[in-house]
Amino acid sequence: MGELLDLVLVGVLLLNFALLGTSRLSAAIKFAGIQGVLLGVALFVSHEQPGFRLILLAVASAALKGGVIPAILLRAMRNVSIRREIEPFVGFTTSLLLGALATGLSLVFARSLPLMAQHAGVLTVPASLATVLTGFLVLTTRRKAITQVVGYLVLENGIFVFGLTLVEAIPFLVEIGVLLDLFVAVFVMGIIMDHIHREFSSLSTEHLTSLRE
């Protein structure tokens, strides 16, 4: 059981790197989607006897993160008809290096945390920290608004991984609420991107820097 979970989490970490290194927008969105599906699997795999609630949650999050949200983003991308390249502030190699640094730091840090026994040896906490930091990295270093949404998704994924340790403790309603929150955020972002594009004929967030009194 632990090994299977570790395997899935390693897949999540690898997808982080893939996200950081790709230069195509649609690839980034698809990687984030696959990461979401993997997380649903991780949820399923992390318990010996998954109850009905757990299965429902796993299926719902996989469907939402793996299917619905990437579909919304891809459709927004097509409507806006921008250039399909990711434009970063720092280069792709530098991003990868920074991502690796972040993963290393999270591994080191996780060792010094006072975790419960069942969570100590597993990759859950380091993976979650690494994913969160990767999400921040994407948010900070990418220009286009769509890539920022992808970064936000990765951030949420990282938090979800941390939540794997707490599934029994969190009420069902909270979990569903978090998923709903995510969905609504992406939906709203889709609408906003349309507006940004109409206003500036581009999705670069550098246009949004003028502060008003």
Binding site: S112, F136, L139, T140, T205, E206, T209, L211
Partner: protein
Amino acid sequence: MNTGLAALGALLIGASGLVAACAGNAAPALADRVGAGVLGAGAALAALAALLALAGGSDTLAGGVLALDALSAVFLLPVAVLGAACACYSLAYFPAAAHPREAPRLRAAFGVATAGLIVVLLARHSFVFLAAWEVMAIGGFFAVTAEERQREVREAGFLYLVSTRASALCLLALFALLFAATGGPALSPLAPGRVSPALQSAAFALALVGFGLKAGLMPLHVWLPPAHAAAPTHVSALLSGVLIKSGIYGIVRVVSLLPDAPAWWGESLLVLGVISAILGVALALAQHDLKRLLAYHSIENIGIIALGLGLALLARDAGRLDVALLALGGALLHVVNHALFKGLLFLGAGAVIQQTGTRALDALGGVAKRMPATALCFAVGAVAIVGLPPLNGFVSEWLIYSGLLRTIAAGGGAVWVLAALAAPGLALTGGLALACFAKVVGVVFLGEAREPAAQATREAPAAMLGPMCALALACAAIGLGAFALGAPLGAAAQIALGAPGARPDAPFAALSLLALALVVLAGALGLALRWRLRRSPRPSGPTWDCGYAAPSARMQYSASSFAATLVRAFAFALLPRARPPQLAAVFPAASSFHSHVPDAVLDGLVLPASQRLADLLGRLRVLQRGSVHAYLLYVWIALVALLAVSGASR
């Protein structure tokens, strides 16, 4: 049952705005009336609850979270009365038909603010108190900035918001202290000796600043005049009449919770009260805007109430319970009285402003000829606020004077010195208030209009006159019916002082008789004069003009000239500024004279200090580039730093 009634009333009041907001543009007049009706019903319930509680029956609701005792009832009664009066008034003053965008929002905000205030008065639980306080402040903000298109209104609203935030912070700290002292969120009196004096003093200081900001004690009064001038008149009436009294209520309630009161509490309240009273009325005298003048008078009256409170605290400390009861009874009665006559004055001023289109005193005049009923009601309010017999202002000021006089007659030490200085100070404010309101009544209502454009057109509509007459009658009723005030005031005061079963022993009946004698005597003389004059023909002519054949209305004394002597006498505190006419050549061109009295605390202290602070913080502007990426980078850096720090500390 009382508390339940009051809570239900609050609920109805709070919901009254929803109707107007929901109906929107469909049937604005009907929505207005229904909203006002619902608010009136809620106010009636609240008033009934307050009267029942004053008659002797306090109870609690929801396990002690809400409670209505005599002290809360004294503050609740004017809220209900004034809320209903203002709601009726606003039907004609700010109808939805004339202000389709602002009126529903204003009605909703008005209802929310009033409901929040009622819950503040009922709350006995820290969180409920704070939540209701915030609701009241936010509702008040939206009510004040109803006409937000104007820049002056926006600035006044901003100042109001900043001061409510500051006051809420102080209150948060206060309630945190109380929580730490009592171990729970319930607001119940502390056992003496259990809590350290330092903590009690800190709590009182926080209460003084936090509640004093709301009440408008000097020097924390800077938000009051702009907010009153900018808000629609019935909102100013509510603000002045009851919302700022919530500050006084807070101070009284906190004092009733803390058992051992050192002398400096009463002394600071008394001194601040005297300063607020004298400077408030002096500043009022110097104003040439009608609503700002009334706002400064509110500061003066808050000063008088604080004076009574301070004296009561000092007297209780010295063991003179009779003096404390008199002073506190006077202060509490003044709370009710001020709500009534200040509300009346604001409503009258609103009617005048609506009909003449201007607030400037130096342009108005002769309004009484076209608006006689409004003039009569305003005159009643003016006589009441100066504290002249036979109306209600005299009774409350007389009670406070009685406390001061008894202290002077048989006291000693620091209290005696303070009382000996406070009594003439109170007399000085009375004299200044007389000058100020004689000026207002004379300049606005009597004589002729100083600018032809500021002529009143016609009498105020019935929806505005009705509340004014009701309030005027209430003032007269309290003045003539002073004999019935002993028991309710005693019931309220003893809760604050912690002395059960006591009544202020003042000859209330004598006051009632004196008022009655005055009314009867003046009435008889008036009738005799009329009878005498009826027998002879009465030719009329122009006013004596000393042989100058063509006097004009501009030659009348203006408001600024009326006040000039006294402003000059108080120039050390008022700091008036004048721009003299520029007379250059041999045949100079037309020039003008302009004089203005700024608010010394606002223009001299608060604004420059905040400008300095803004400049200093402007240096940190460089961090705020507007780039989302930069902000996210800051978050990232913060996260990594936190992780590193917590990892290193293991």
